[in-house]
């Protein structure tokens, strides 16, 4: 009976935390829809710095427009922030990690850690995606624009999904390792 109650409490806490996290994710998505480029500088600036570093280009920032790279002829603005990826990754990590944590404080601690980890991975994933898109731009004269748009979109999906699934598998693998070690120790 006690174990059942404990299980129920644990499950409800997990569900509440997951619901809370998903609410945060939904709020971020909503905020993204309402926001301007200026509001998203926290995520755009590091991506832009990495692009500048990788491609040796210099950008000019224009309010409400974004970072314009004249040498690359690209614009990094609100639509490139990677918020969709962040929301998805954050949701996936929350649902994977929170249920396997043992104590409530540990679970609560997990939330900001997952947030920060998701943020860092998003910036890296977005940088890789934009780098690949820049590579694809060199074929702009050879390929019809409609095909180039499709390739740009498909390339973005491929890179994001690869990183998402790699992260998923890595977390899965680590959580199994932790579980096994825990099982052995007890």
């Amino acid at each position: 009976m006690i174990s059942t109650i404990k299980f129920a409490v644990k499950r409800n806490v997990n569900l509440s935390l997951i619901a809370l996290a998903l609410l945060v994710a939904a709020w971020i998505k909503f905020f993204h829809a309402q926001s301007s480029t200026d509001d998203l500088l926290v995520i755009l600036t590091p991506v832009n710095s990495l692009i500048e570093l990788l491609h040796g280009s210099h950008s000019a920032y224009q309010a409400d427009e974004g970072f314009y790279h004249a040498s690359l002829s690209i614009l990094i603005d609100k639509s490139c922030a990677g918020v969709n990826f962040f929301v998805l990754l954050f949701g996936v990590l929350i649902m994977m990690i929170v249920p396997v944590c043992n104590s409530l404080p540990f679970r609560l601690l997990c939330l900001p850690i997952i947030f920060v980890v998701s943020y860092v991975i998003t910036i890296l994933a977005n940088t890789i995606r934009i780098t690949c898109a820049i590579f694809l731009l060199q074929f702009k004269n050879e390929v019809p624009w409609i095909a180039l748009l499709a390739i740009h979109e498909a390339g973005g999906i491929f890179i994001y999904l690869t990183i998402l699934i790699t992260t998923y598998l890595s977390v899965q693998f680590l959580s199994h390792k932790v579980k096994l070690r825990y099982a052995k120790s007890t």
Partner: protein, 938 residues
């Protein structure tokens, strides 16, 4: 057909079209909302709620059926028909309230009224098929002729009813009840007719023996060969084109091919069946296309059968689709015995996309040809010595296609359903080519007879409507170091009828317009700065409906067009312009002298360099101090080498030699251009006979391009000579000059003239700026001497300027990379940068794709009008929304053109990512488990 009972079809055939309908209708509602009465809004909301409720119920029902693993039954079909037909019926009845007649039709898409029928029809047809299939058990044992007999009985009985009973009915007093009874009765008959017709075909298609099976080939030839070809013939007969333009030969070829493959026997040979299956898959798309085209007309088929017997041809796509689906299904079952199911499905998909891909490929080729031709004419690279030739045959085909797409006459649609829309979207970015542009392309590339373009009546000013009062107030802004002047105008219409005020004026150099107001019903309404094409389009639409717009935009150079509409008889209206200028200036507006700033104050004593360092403003006071000089003339002979002028080539050389001898011109100072569609420049006059002998005399005499190349060269390579252009032709009327060349007026500060040398040796001067094709009355000599000033000095001049007591703006280099406005640039300084960027764009139109968006964006950012933007005052919110929508369309069309020039690095959509993640995880679930399981056991 049994597979259509699977509830998953509801998502494809019902939920998706209704979702699109909701989306499209919301878009229409959003635009016209501000123009609707309360009652209409309530009606829109009610229909919206009803449709959303039906949509949700449909999805919930589909999910329920899937979870319960139940197939759809005839009960579903009946309920769906009972729900959607009344909805459609009431929608059509309420259409006049939903979109009242006072809403201008240009605000909405032309097909808005058809959307509801088109998007709900798949649901209705599916529901009918579900009823038919579910109620036709043991179809192979049934007799098809009974179904056909009932189907035939219905139009026949209607015919008799209309001939004998309906005339009596008309004597009965018309009432709401009996009027609707007739329509409801008609709808019911249509359903029963289609039900029995489809049932008859279905029974034939599943029968394995019997009379009809024995003569299968005969009715196959009838249904899939004769009827489709007859249908196409009847539709195109006498250019009726009732259902669209299907005159292209490919429609007939594919109809024939489809018929032949459908009639081929199903032999027991796997390779033969494989090829047959592939070809049938290819032509299946063709028959599916016609089924979709005719789907909205199916309910009217019975009327067509009653009215004209040939109306049954409207049912051909439906019948052919059922027959061919059945054949494909049989082929599929046969091939599955020898090949994996997935391979056969892949083969079907490959076949099915052949025609759409071929169509897309052909359209993309059209797009490429059209883009190249448009780029050559409107975005040329003046620095190129050799032009890439355009494929004239391909271009002729594209222009024919565009003209056919534009043409709607006699109420019948000359467009090809869906395909024309696809063509407009893919090739023309949903915009269109104006008649003027089509004519120009034909003149330039094919040398079509050069009709002088009609005089632009839109700028014929009416003397009875003019400015009656002006107030100018100028304030010097110490922070900006520039003036801000407000020019308030009172305009009066002295006509006894409604009229439009139209005028043009030239702004002084270094003066920019940064706001515009129009008083509407005593309210001062501020103008919207919008993209020029979108703004002029909306102005033309609004003026046809007698509303209150006002508009300002650049023509060429510093010339501005200014229009206000409407003025009632004897009405006086107020409007005002806000101008930014660096120093006092004067200009003429409709006979009034407008003095900006205070002449006595604020004279500038130094040159002003723009924030980005690319442009220099030289005030008149500084220009007066620059050293005077006179340059030598360099003569450019532009030879007419257009189609049909080959005979003149023999006399060209003699003509030019005699001319330079008469005028005592040194041949070393002469160059020549062979001009037709293309312009080829030769630096040595001695090469003239050889060049004329080897050139091809074809296309139009595009003299404008030759002149632009010379003018560009004059700016790009500053030298101590200036060009004198002499056009050698038997008729200047033959020359193609599409616009004034005033944008290039700074290129030759010496003179705005060029000369025409006729084959009789007569020399006449022409203006580059005003009506270039008309000869000037002035006596201007070819050897006249002109004085200009050198900047910054005579020893190392970077530019030569006209000595006219006015300020000038100089580009330090002709090609400026498109950038955002420098951070500190606001007000007049921003205007200088914008003007400089525009000057650079004129010299480098080949960079339009890169520069255009920047130019529009910078104009918006600085809130200063430039030649790519326009100030417009609109009357209401609905017009503003349409303007913004049109602007978005124009901007996005160009955005595609400049893909890769300033590409947004947009991330994929959320739903695409989620879909991708779900698919990958579902597919790899087992593999993931395997992948993880060894680690679990470790």
């Amino acid at each position: 057909m049994q597979s259509l009972l699977n509830p998953r079809w509801l998502f494809v055939l019902s939920s998706a079209p209704v979702a699109i309908l909701l989306f499209v209708q919301y878009g229409s509602y959003d635009i016209i909302e501000s123009q609707l009465s309360k009652e209409s809004i309530t009606l829109w909301i009610r229909f919206g709620i009803l449709l959303v409720a039906l949509w949700v119920i449909h999805i919930a029902f589909a999910l329920w059926q899937i979870l319960k693993r139940q197939r759809l039954t005839w009960i579903y079909g009946v309920v769906a028909l009972l729900l959607y037909i009344p909805l459609l019926y009431f929608y059509q009845m309420a259409l006049d309230d939903l979109i009242p007649r006072n809403i201008p039709r240009w605000m909405l898409s032309e097909d808005t009224v058809w959307y509801a029928g088109s998007f709900i029809m798949p649901t209705l047809m599916h529901a009918l098929i579900v009823i038919m299939v579910d109620l036709t058990h043991h179809a192979e044992k049934r007799k098809p002729w009974i179904s056909f007999a009932i189907a035939v009985f219905i139009p026949v009985s209607w015919y008799l009813f209309l001939q004998f009973i309906f005339p009596l009915w008309q004597r009965v007093e018309r009432s709401f009840f009996n009027e609707h009874v007739l329509i409801v009765f008609m709808i019911t008959s249509v359903i029963i007719f289609l039900f029995f017709l489809m049932r008859g075909i279905y029974i034939i298609s599943v029968k394995r023996s019997g009379f009809l099976q024995k003569y299968k080939l005969v009715w196959k030839i009838l249904f899939v060969v004769c009827f489709p070809l007859a249908g196409l013939y009847v539709n195109n007969y006498e250019q009726w084109m009732i259902f669209g333009d299907f005159r292209n030969k490919w429609f007939f070829i594919l109809a024939g091919l489809n018929g032949v493959t459908a009639c081929l026997p199903a032999l027991d040979q796997k390779n033969y069946r494989l090829i047959l299956f592939l070809v049938r898959s290819i032509t299946f798309t063709y028959i599916l296309y016609f089924f979709l085209v005719f789907l909205p007309y199916l309910p009217f088929s019975i009327i067509a059968v009653i009215a004209i017997g040939l109306g049954f041809l409207m049912l051909t796509p439906l019948m052919a689709l059922i027959i061919q689906s059945k054949m494909l299904s049989e082929d599929f079952s046969y091939l599955k015995k020898y090949h994996p199911g997935k391979t056969v499905i892949a083969l079907f998909i490959t076949g099915a996309i052949v025609l759409p891909l071929a169509l897309t490929w052909s359209f993309l080729k059209d797009k490429q040809t059209l883009d190249n031709a448009l780029k050559y004419v409107y975005e040329p690279d003046y620095s190129k010595t050799k032009e890439n030739r355009i494929n004239n045959t391909g271009l002729a085909t594209v222009l024919d296609h565009v003209k056919e797409n534009k043409d709607r006459r006699m109420g019948f649609n000359r467009q090809t359903p869906f395909i024309s829309s696809y063509y407009n979207w893919l090739v023309l970015d949903n915009l269109t080519l104006s008649e003027q542009k089509i004519t120009q392309l034909e003149k330039i590339f094919f040398g079509s007879p050069s009709q002088d373009s009609l005089p632009d009546l839109s700028f014929n000013t009416d003397k009875n409507i003019s400015i009656t009062h002006t107030i100018v107030s100028s304030v010097y802004d110490n922070k900006q170091q520039s003036w801000k002047s407000i020019v308030e105008l009172e305009i009066t219409n002295k006509n006894p009828f409604q009229a439009e005020y139209v005028t043009t004026f030239t702004l002084p150099t270094g003066t920019w317009i940064n706001n515009y107001y129009l008083w509407i019903n005593d309210q001062k309404v501020e103008g919207i700065l919008a993209e020029k094409k979108a703004a002029t389009w909306i102005y033309q639409q609004i003026t046809s409906f007698r509303r209150d717009p006002g508009i300002l935009y650049y023509l060429t150079g510093n010339r501005i067009a200014f229009r206000v509409f409407p003025f009632e008889a004897m009405q006086t209206r107020r409007t005002s312009l806000e101008l930014l200028h660096k120093e006092p200036a004067i200009f003429h507006l409709d006979g009034h002298i407008i003095s900006l700033g205070n002449e006595a104050q604020r004279e500038i004593k130094k040159e002003i360099t723009s924030q980005d360092g690319n442009f220099v403003y030289i005030p008149a006071s500084i220009k007066n101090t620059l050293p005077l000089t006179n340059r030598k003339a360099c003569y450019y002979f532009i030879m007419d080498c257009s189609a049909g002028k080959k005979d003149l080539s023999a006399m060209y050389d003699q003509l030019v030699r005699r001319f330079i001898a008469d005028k005592n011109i040194n041949p070393q100072h002469c160059k020549f251009i062979l001009s037709n569609t293309y312009s080829i420049l030769y630096d040595n006059l001695d090469n003239l006979p050889a060049a004329l002998a080897s050139t091809e005399f074809s296309g139009g005499f595009f003299v404008e391009r030759s002149m632009e190349k010379i003018l560009f060269r004059a700016v790009d390579e500053v030298s101590n000579t200036y060009p004198v252009m002499i056009v050698v032709t038997d008729s200047m009327n033959n020359a193609i000059v599409t616009k004034s060349l005033s944008d290039f007026s700074n290129s030759i500060p010496e003179s705005d003239c060029f000369f025409a040398l006729s084959t009789t040796g007569k020399l006449t001067p022409h203006s580059l700026v005003v009506n270039p094709k008309e000869p000037l009355q002035d006596t201007i000599g070819i050897n006249d001497t002109y004085h200009v000033v050198a900047w910054p000095n005579a020893v190392h001049p970077q530019a030569y300027l006209r000595q006219n007591g006015e300020p000038s703006i100089i580009l330090k280099q002709t090609l400026i990379q498109p950038t955002a406005l420098p951070g500190q640039s606001t007000g007049w300084d921003a205007g200088l940068v914008l003007h400089g960027q525009w000057m650079s764009h004129i010299l480098h139109p080949e960079k339009t794709d890169e520069m255009w968006l920047s130019l529009v964006r910078n104009s918006f950012a600085a809130h200063i009008m430039t030649p790519v933007t326009s100030f417009i005052v609109v009357e209401n919110e609905a017009q503003r929304k349409v303007l913004l929508k049109k602007q978005e369309q124009v901007l996005s069309a160009k955005k595609f053109l400049d893909l890769g020039e300033e590409t947004r690095m947009s991330e994929p959509d959320m739903w695409l990512l989620m879909l991708g993640a779900c698919l990958v995880l579902l597919y790899r679930r087992k593999h993931l488990k395997k992948f993880l399981s060894p680690r679990q056991t470790n």
